[in-house]
């Protein structure tokens, strides 16, 4: 009995030795954490709040997995649908939510859709009186601006209208196909 146990013991020891020997080898240059290169993707960090992953003609995909259709009003912790047609239709009422919030937001990032759209100067003046800084730009750049202003930790809200004209890259087409499980189909007019 004891000899059997002893044989099992030695067998186990050998097995364990075999296993652990693979894990004890660590390259010397990686012993220090500062030597490693690290990469963090901001959109995957959930502590920063809701960020925008992508946009399209239809709406926006957010970093918490949600998809919002149509124009949105986006805050660090919540997102709402926004009742606005085009950038010219923005009036005091459509912006009323942003200046009634507590704590007061520092910057309101307005994405006007396509690059040529204008926001009426009366509205800009009105928001200046309410002491909210505006950052008006096409939606393509407004999404990125909102993302990294949020990542920096500033009090920022976004009011974004989906663009109808935007640049599409091969990468965008491929990721859309992957999402739709459609990579094998050859499409003449890919919908992105």
């Amino acid at each position: 009995m004891t000899s059997l146990l002893r044989k099992c013991n030695t067998l186990c020891n050998q097995l364990l030795k075999g296993c652990t020997s693979h894990f004890t080898v660590v390259p010397r240059r990686w012993l220090n954490d500062t030597d490693k290169s690290t990469m963090t993707i901001v959109n995957q960090d959930t502590s920063l709040g809701i960020l925008i992953n992508s946009y399209s003609r239809a709406g926006f995909r957010l970093s918490n997995g949600m998809m919002a259709i149509g124009p949105i009003a986006i805050f660090p912790k919540s997102v709402l649908s926004w009742d606005v047609n085009t950038a010219e239709d923005i009036n005091e009422e459509s912006l009323s939510l942003f200046y009634t919030l507590e704590p007061k937001i520092d910057i309101l990032v307005i994405g006007v859709g396509n690059p040529g759209q204008q926001v009426s100067s009366k509205i800009i003046q009105y928001m200046k009186e309410k002491h909210i800084s505006l950052e008006i730009s096409p939606t393509e750049t407004a999404c990125a601006t909102y993302n990294f202003l949020n990542a920096e930790g500033r009090c920022v809200a976004g009011a974004l209208i989906p663009p109808t004209q935007y640049r599409i890259s091969e990468d965008d087409i491929a990721s859309t196909k992957r999402r739709n499980r459609d990579m094998m189909k050859v499409d003449d007019f890919p919908i992105v």
Binding site: D106, I107, V109, S133, T141
Partner: protein, 267 residues
């Protein structure tokens, strides 16, 4: 006797090499190549740039050639500070002239070194847009200048020089000059909610707002600027003349090169 005199002269010259040699009135050609006796050379003012008349005249010829090729837009050609060629164009002609300077075989100014702007509030068209081009092929530079006021947009030269992208964004941010057909005209240097165009002459040095960390709300707040001390302007001129040698320098003049065919114009 003569030999000893020569030896004495040799020794005295040795001494003068060590001591301050600017007191020696005579110019000795043997010692003029010596680095220590620079003061004794035949040059009158080695620190002032010499104007090469041949280079300047060929530069002026090239400037006139550009004016002949683009007569609709080029308003003036001038040479400033001795050897820098400037072409003044109407704002409608910025892109055609830049296209010409970039693509024409005799010009080949393929490198955009810089785009700058200048604000002169007293003028009607207060902003001057300045394009600096470099030709690697011919090793020469040229400056294209144009003008605009606060409201008139200028055509972007992004299609000619891709490098113009950020330069024009900077001019938009700092001066407020709008560039039409620019791919992405937005702020580049100022903060996100910043209002105003800082490089304009009527924008104050201290700005309009200041930022500080407010402990009550636990974040950075933006407030109107408050100077604890009034703005002091120091007058640093002294009662004594600092550059007596430059007492009689003439002011810069503009000379018409084509009419006189003499030296270059000074600006």
């Amino acid at each position: 006797m003569a030999a000893s005199g020569r030896i004495i002269r040799g020794i005295s010259s040795l001494f003068s090499r060590k001591c301050c040699s600017s007191f020696l009135p005579s110019k000795s050609p043997i010692l003029s190549s010596n680095a220590i006796l620079r003061y004794n050379t035949t040059e009158s003012s080695p620190t002032i740039k010499k104007v090469d008349a041949v280079a300047t005249s060929s530069l002026m010829d090239f400037g006139l050639y550009v004016a002949e090729c683009m007569p609709k837009y080029v308003q003036k050609v001038q040479i400033v500070t001795g050897n820098e060629l400037e072409v003044l164009v109407a704002p409608d002609g910025i892109v055609p002239v830049l296209h010409f300077l970039k693509d024409h075989h005799q010009c080949q100014f393929a490198s955009l070194a810089d785009i700058g702007a200048m604000d002169v509030p007293s003028r009607e068209n207060r902003f001057e847009i300045i394009y600096n081009l470099l030709s690697l092929r011919f090793n020469s530079r040229i400056r294209v200048k144009s003008y605009t006021d606060e409201l008139t947009p200028v055509d972007s030269c992004y299609e000619v020089f891709k490098a113009a992208d950020w330069y024009e964004r900077e001019i938009w941010d700092m001066y407020g000059v709008f560039f039409a057909n620019h791919p992405d005209l937005r702020r580049i240097l100022t903060d996100y909610g910043f209002e105003g165009h800082p490089f304009r002459k009527d924008f104050p040095l201290t700005g309009y707002v200041e930022v500080r960390y407010d402990d009550e709300v636990k974040r950075v707040v933006v407030e109107p600027v408050e100077l604890a001390q009034e703005f002091r302007k120091f007058d640093l001129s002294s009662p004594w003349e600092t550059f007596p040698n430059l007492r009689t320098l003439p002011a810069g003049t503009e000379e018409d090169l084509k009419a006189t065919q003499t030296g270059p114009a000074k600006q």
